[in-house]
Symmetry: C2
Subunit: 218 residues, 2 copies
DNA sequence: ATAAAAATGTGGCTTAAACAACAGACTTTC
DNA sequence: GAAAGTCTGTTGTTTAAGCCACATTTTTAT
């Protein structure tokens, strides 16, 4: 892979060949070949590298413990993946990345970009901050995908309630939605969801009153 | 609203008060008060401004023509919205933004940040490019949310096929998924989806063979 | 305090999606 | 080109989500 090839990529837009070569060196770029079907980034791991697909394509997918698969996106040649996690290297990945065909992939350790976080003009600082914000927004959007991917009403409720519980570091918490909004967020029908909440309370899984919820451990 | 308040926000992290005041001026910042319940950014419109919520909260939602509502996210005080669309000002918004309570909101025209797109060090250039990539990724994630929000199998298929058709500017196109992958992407069960595709073909809505699809206008 | 309005919950019916089992078509491999 | 494997479509059954009508509770307004 040569610099002139890379100039076509959005990531290197407006950069000279020399600048691209500098970037590749500083960001510890590394090219890898990956076989069709293999999962090469795993949910739960963290990563410092983003990927650029030079050839082939990958799927971003979630595989839960009951064998259900959800494909969040398909990323093709000339596109990028894991940039969110590489920018937020403490966040464990929510997804697997699988080679959809034989792939040639360039990995870049973009953490090296933001070593001097507070230097530069205010425009540069605000750009860095925006990048963080955009990455977090990405995580939130992915989060909702996980809450809506279970097919059952109860599955979605549990996914959502568990995530709020983790967020608040407590089994007891308020949610920011009323019933109709919660149903709209989880893509459920309100009355059906009320029924399910009632059942779950009867079974002793949860206790709730209005917006206040408490999860019960078995 | 005063600069020292804003220093707590991620967007202005690592910036001095003077720098923040410069930013507010250059980005044409403007504070607005918005009443609970009102939709103040509409799907289909474009926007040049991102919003920072100083007080209150907003919901990001989609309201389709059959009256179905989907809430994509709830954005609270100290958080941001529409930054994706402000960074990609040609993209029409896919969502409405509604004040969930009475709100105090600061609007920033962040397009002014990237006027001199090709100046600066290579690090600065690559940061700008990354920001674009992250924003586009955001749009894709939102896109999938819309394909999975219809409750019916047919609704999801039509949402997906229509979007691909628009993307390719043609009523005839190949999709990048096999049946199992398409089902996994749309959160459907494969055999059921096959049934529905068959029905749709019988009804003359679509014609397909393998990965090749053709949409029929009535 | 009372009435009006909004939010939440319940029961019953209908419908469509999930699931299992299998058949046929198409690919790949040797 | 035969066999194995993969992908796709069909049928029938089960189950659970959607939906309607209405009851109950909670909140708001006067």
């Amino acid at each position: 892979m040569i610099a002139s090839e890379l100039q076509k990529l959005v990531l290197f837009r407006n950069m000279t060949e020399t600048e691209i070569l500098d970037a590749l060196r500083v960001l510890h770029s590394m090219e890898k070949h990956i076989k069709k079907g293999s999962i090469f980034l795993h949910a739960g791991d963290t990563t410092n590298a983003m990927g650029i697909i030079l050839e082939g394509s990958v799927t971003i997918e979630s595989n839960d413990m009951w064998g259900n698969k959800t494909i969040l996106s398909l990323v093709g040649a000339g596109q990028y993946f894991a940039e969110t996690y590489a920018l937020l290297p403490d966040e464990p990945m929510l997804v697997d990345v699988r080679a959809n065909e034989d792939c040639r992939i360039l990995f870049l350790y973009i953490g090296y970009l933001s070593e001097s976080w507070s230097s530069g003009s205010w425009k540069e600082k605000i750009l860095k901050n925006l990048l963080l914000i955009s990455s977090h927004k990405n995580l939130h959007l992915s989060g909702r995908s996980f809450h809506t991917s279970p097919k059952s009403c109860r599955g979605r409720l549990l996914s959502y309630l568990n995530s709020i519980s983790k967020q608040k570091h407590s089994l007891e918490f308020d949610i920011p939605f009323d019933r109709q909004q919660l149903a709209d967020y989880l893509n459920l029908e309100r009355t059906n969801m009320s029924k399910e909440l009632g059942k779950m309370q009867n079974e002793g899984i949860i206790i709730f009153r209005k917006n206040h919820f408490k999860l019960i451990q078995p």
